[in-house]
Symmetry: D2
């Protein structure tokens, strides 16, 4: 495939209520590497198998939620091209100089129809994945993989209005593709869309929700489905608030467990799911099949899963 | 170890409301081998890796539940010895001739303090585990392992009164050992006991309950923890009523999923758990820790799990 | 990412010495679905999770090896574009009309510098992945997943001359990217290149070899690393000639097992490996590190693995 | 089962050539807990899930091999009984006072027909399995499970003469049972016997060998078969000498990997295998089936595996 354009979610910036508790959670329970702290109190983390400097940023605030999500694009030229396409689409775009964000090249920022702040950038300082690029190993040194041991930040699921318009905006301006959708039975009305810009079953997803700009969860990838069980053990051991799981999604087929950080932001670690290609037909789920679509093993909806967002 | 005495649960006999639906469930979903049907309408099943003729018997009846559970002992001499010890303990014992039960040698039958009918027997016709004993293989032919693919019937959890007395009876008369227990906080009052007669963390367990003779679940063993996930997929695919899971038990440390047969009898498939030795200290859980004791991943009790019995 | 261009290997066409034995191997041992047989004696197979009509074609011949490999591209326009770029690069391109190949749209065919016949096509009849696209399931019906149960044809590794030129041709004309390479120590001389056109660590790979057009192996993907173990059990059970494994590759980090079809063509089933992004640095292995690069668990080279090709 | 008599291998005492290298190997690579060092230079280790003070003892010496193996019995009365039975069998027994061995009660010591020194003991100081016995957890604190993360010392395989006599001695005097055997084709002549005193497929095994008292390997148990893969990654990463694996045994059905400690003593980590009951028929393998019996996945014998002992 011509791999150009948006590569992946490269950064999620969360607000937390208690910074120290949150550091313990993300560093010791999920098992991220703490990479830096800045003068404004932000703490930066990466997963062990990521090459770039950081993928998660947290800061203490009075309320939880998502400051912004930033997707990495393949080149500065691609960034320029996306800027033009987004402006041409009628969306206001803000330019942010290189260096304003830690270890980062220039960014563009805009608000998407669901009310979330999104950024695109092409450059971030590379620090490596804990193994050399010349004669690498398959695992890093003992102690680098800790906690749940995720390899990377994988995707984000957000709640807000105008979900169909979000899908349209991302496919038309940023070349995302519709992987799966939930519709009102017998209609094309999308209540939820799952979009991919890769061979993964999703890189971003929305659920229709009246309040704009809300976060449902950020998700980290685990290498094997059995690792979801290990994550559950860590959740139990540390009395982390478990939302649901282990279970499997009908949508994406991933093995998953959901839990909350100490401030109430939802996290997911997951594994598996199919390898998606652009010639796969988009998969459609009826609203009446929401049970198995979301939690395949029991087909039952969990009230908190559908309603608690930050 | 001197391996003598009670070996394992060798047979569970369940009542079901609809025989044909139940056959589909146990044969095609759980994946047992249908071994025989008798003139009274009983259907006999075994797991693929069991050597004896059958381990599960179902029959159609107006109400669900357990007819009896039968444990296999190491020899006819052991059977005679247990008969004497049980009678000496003051429990009435009934003798059942060889051949009364299909493919089975003589049995003794008695009612335990929780109101359940229990049998012991030393002989059952061996049909083999689908692989030869001379130059065996490690897997049987394609198609033998089906559905959830359990290797054997593993244990039973029953509800009834007099749980501490059940524990005493089984340890004193049948050499079971206390593996784990749940007690009222700060007391020795047992609400639940998990007994083992093997290196497994349990071979039988009770929960205190006013009504005698009730079944909580029969449980089948899976070779790997990840197989619990596959069982969940089969449960979802076939819209089997899922009670809870996949999750992990604090008690026994097993990876587990619970679901109901079409009549409402609860089944479990599980894997893992520790290797138990008689010099392990019994593990004690306080009633206030019932959440993590039962479902470690979320530490939350599930009302149906605690109250629905057949 | 702009997902355009070459999507994946869509078809490998192998010559086998005994068709019936080969059908048993690919259908019953590996577990592919037999989709069709044609008048010239070709047999067509697909993996259970593939949407297109077939991905493996075998025919009986006097000698083993690869007839051609066909990669699917994202659209007819992309096909036209590749045709032009390849011609402009100086490579002769043959046009093949729609319908010449079973269930297939038009193709272009050319010989790559390593002497292998390659095809590109944009259309093949879709038959589905054994689950509906509207309210799908996560697993197909019992019995569909058989044998080793691969989800898809994943990649091919071929032997021939001019490996660096092959890498150049694929990156310049077909937008593949260099994922990993093996070089002579202290030089840039490539002995082997692993190229990707997706988020997988490789979609095609070469090893330098004097004889052109040779096949090292075709590879199928398994969902979980533990499935490689199950594949090993099937190999052992059926006395399939095992080349090496289970083991892990240093290159790609995949869990793998290699074996031969009844005619001696090498097959691989594998799982795992990292998620590759185009901004990952290419990984370089020195020839002196070939041991861990290929078989990480013992770091020892296997003579047959390096020399037996068909 | 009446769980009395020999419980398990409780201690293996190895000679190593370089103590410091060996400590790194057993502590950091295999992941044992270093428990003590004594005045004679012995270093004591345990696995994280074992309750007793230690299970492995190493000391520096001029040549590698096994000093002794010590099996734990269920009670002091059982110890006295075994002492009498062994003496009555005609084997000389030495008494060792409590306290002579670190943290240990009294022992009896004798030489078995294969020339190995064996001890039995009933008491060793309990230190716990890193989790409380009152309201335990399912996993210990982060960092306790390290390296390959075995839960316990599982069994030993030894080489020496008089294998059939060893089997007779262990079954007649110590109530072991024959789980599997390798015989010369068409005869009852045992070349190798696998004996169990538990529900595991073996607790000790022999291979006929002219030189007495040799060690083939000590083996540690892993919770899941996939953990064998992780062990392989650690072996590769640390360039530990890998003998063979990952693979599966035909005998016991275990998933396994073999490697050498820095001095050349062979270690195994394994998982899986069937749950053995005393009413299972012993499994017999012909010498001509030694390939699949030992390494099921390729059915090929490895010269070093059969000949290198310490």
């Amino acid at each position: 495939m011509a791999i150009t354009g948006v590569l992946r979610i490269g950064e999620a910036a969360l607000r937390v209520l208690d910074l120290e508790e949150s550091i313990v959670h993300y560093r010791d329970r999920i098992g991220l590497q703490e990479m830096a702290r800045d003068d404004e109190g932000r703490v930066y983390f990466k997963c062990w198998d990521e090459w770039d400097h950081h993928s998660l940023v947290i800061r203490e605030a009075d309320e939880t939620g998502l400051d912004y999500m930033a997707y990495k694009v393949s080149s500065d030229a691609a960034l320029t091209n996306f800027e033009k396409r987004i402006r041409d689409y009628g969306v206001e775009v803000e330019n942010i100089d290189a260096g304003v964000y830690l270890k980062s090249g220039r960014r563009i920022q805009f608000t998407i129809p669901s009310g979330h702040v999104m950024q695109l950038y092409a450059e971030k300082v590379k620090v490596g994945n804990n193994m050399p690029a010349h004669n690498p190993e398959v695992i890093p040194d003992e102690g680098i993989i800790r906690g749940m041991g995720p390899t990377r930040l994988d995707h984000i699921l957000i709640y807000g209005p105008n979900v169909p318009e979000c899908g349209k905006f991302f496919t038309e301006c940023m070349d995302f593709e519709l992987a799966e959708e939930i519709v009102k039975d017998g209609t094309d009305d999308q209540l939820s869309v799952f979009l991919a810009c890769s061979n993964k079953p999703h890189d971003i997803a929305w659920v229709e929700h009246p309040e704009p700009g809300k976060l449902h969860h950020i998700s980290f990838f685990l290498n094997n489905e059995i690792d979801v069980y290990h994550a559950g053990d860590i959740i139990g051991k540390n009395r982390i608030s478990n939302d649901i799981g282990p279970t499997r999604h009908g949508i994406t087929r991933g093995a998953t467990i959901y839990f909350f950080d100490p401030s109430g932001n939802r996290n997911e670690v997951f594994s598996g799911g199919y390898i998606r290609y652009p010639d796969n037909p988009p998969l459609r789920w009826d609203e009446s099949q929401l049970g198995p679509a979301i939690f395949y093993h029991d087909g039952k909806l969990n009230e908190s899963f559908l309603t608690v967002v930050t």
